[in-house]
């Protein structure tokens, strides 16, 4: 696992991808910081956090699009899968390298909290919970993106699909769908079901807890369990492919 982790991390910084991710993240978060903290003249970072997550729509595919699609296209997966390494280790190595790039970006953005502490009096613990939220949310999206990249040999296909999925997850809540209006009468159950589905997919609602600075068990379990689910699915897809 260590070898793969090291290689992947190196690859992020040998290609522009790692820099683009970190750059995008920093630019966007600076903008959000400026808008929701400096201009708004507040040291509460809740608005900063709720908006920062949108950058993942563009940024996460950068990290994940190549993960397995490129290995398959260049046939380098033949090296990985014929080496005495478990598939789980390969997947975890890649996942953790993506996570590291995200973590580095988050560390950079901690500077806003420092600035706020110098010139104001921010609720430090609550803000750190917000940062934890970004990390967990990002972890889930990276796991999803990684899973998508096992399904195709083309990184562009992987990138666009991941982008679409992340966009749906982070925007579906803001659309305020109410299906009980469209499906009433006999179809009310369907409307309720769709509302439930939207609620389930609305990751931003979960993230909002973190943004407010409250540490709730439910969103933590939600993010971690979905992360684990997609890591496991990735392993399964790769293992299944041998039997095809």
């Amino acid at each position: 696992m260590k070898a793969i982790f090291k290689r992947e991390l190196n690859a992020y910084f040998k290609t522009p991808l790692g820099y683009i991710f970190i750059g995008l993240f920093i630019c966007f978060s600076s903008l959000m910081f400026f808008t929701y903290n400096l201009s708004a003249k507040t040291s509460i970072m809740t608005d900063y956090f709720t908006h920062i997550s949108y950058i993942f729509i563009v940024a996460v595919p950068l990290l994940t699009m190549k993960m397995f699609s490129e290995e398959r296209r260049l046939k380098t997966d033949q090296l990985l899968l014929t080496s005495p390494v478990k598939v789980t280790d390969i997947v975890l190595g890649k996942f953790l390298s993506g996570m590291s790039v995200l973590a580095v970006s988050i560390v950079f953005s901690l500077v806003y909290l420092v600035v706020l502490s110098i010139y104001g009096n921010p609720p430090v613990i609550q803000s750190l919970v917000g940062y934890l939220g970004i990390l967990l949310y990002g972890a889930m999206l990276i796991a999803i993106g990684m899973f998508v990249s096992t399904l195709t040999q083309h990184q562009i296909v992987a990138a666009v699909s991941t982008m679409a999925i992340v966009a749906v997850l982070s925007l579906v809540g803001s659309a305020n769908f109410d299906f009980t209006g469209a499906f009433n009468g006999n179809l009310l159950f369907l409307g309720k079901f769709l509302n439930g589905a939207v609620d389930f997919l609305d990751t931003n609602a979960r993230f909002y807890d973190f943004a407010k600075g409250t540490l709730n068990l439910v969103p933590i379990v939600y993010f971690i369990s979905l992360t684990v689910l997609f890591v496991v699915l990735t392993v399964r897809v790769i293992e299944r492919r041998r039997w095809r």
């Binding site: 046939k75 033949q78 990985l80 390494v85 478990k86 041998r242």
Partner: protein, 338 residues
Amino acid sequence: MIEVKNLVKKYGPKCAVDDISFTVRDGEILGLLGPNGAGKSTTMNIMTGYLSATNGTVTIAGHDILDEPMEAKKQIGYLPEIPPLYNDMTVLEYLRFVYDLKGVNEKNRDKHLNEIMGTVKVTDVKNRIIANLSKGYKQRVGLAQAMVGNPEVLILDEPTVGLDPMQIIEIRSVIKKLGKNHTVILSSHILQEVQAICDRVVIINNGKVAAIDTPSNLARTISNENKFMLRIAGDERDALDALESVNGIRQIKSLGRKEKNTIDFIVETLPNVDVRAQVFRVMADNNLPILSMQTVDLSLEDIFIEVTENDKQIASDVDERDIEFVKIKEEKKDEGNI
């Protein structure tokens, strides 16, 4: 060392590998020979654990590739058809990565890697980005990758494909050297290659094993007729007349003139009859000097066509393919009567 038993691989209804079995002995160089799409790569991919077989087993040094993949894979160095190289790394970085990936336990990593790079001659490009290397170098880096950790078994899928003739010769000699202390399995559709390197050959066609034997034995089993080539200085008609008087000749083919004032023949005798001494005397009596006489062995190419197509017609010297005219005894007789 390696046992492949009743291997079957189906892609949907298509059977890519159909009940292939063979064993590879310790320290042997085994060649898998077959046309494109015969199932060589699929067989190798199953042997290395990249694919799973629909049926059958592969055992590497006593470890089943499915039941004990870690132990089995530790014994194998694999060079797939397309070398699995990361274009963004330098050769040395890449080999170090492979070293870590395989969890190799050599005392001195860089010494081990330097030895390998020396063997396959990539030391001079070790700090170059793989993407910028020529095809020949990439292939050699691929071979180096397979050798990392000194695995007992090397499985090489078409190791010389796409190389220029000089590089082919080089890679072949490297493989031959490796064969001295490794068990090597290589696949090829180039017959001379297998003939030059391998101790034994498995001919695969349409996913089935067509034949397993040493290259020389294969040649012998299939050519049970006695055939030899003659080059005689003199007139064709005279030579044919003289040959006709020899007992035990089944057929004479004239190959025409290849050298000034000479004529070439392929002489086929009846089974278990050696007429060469007789031919010598008859030719001497007729003052027709024999410039060369040599037995015609089937090349693997002939064996290949023979085995894979069951076509009994083509079986002899390669030169014969471009014969301009073939004269058979009878025809000549008719001419003589006119």
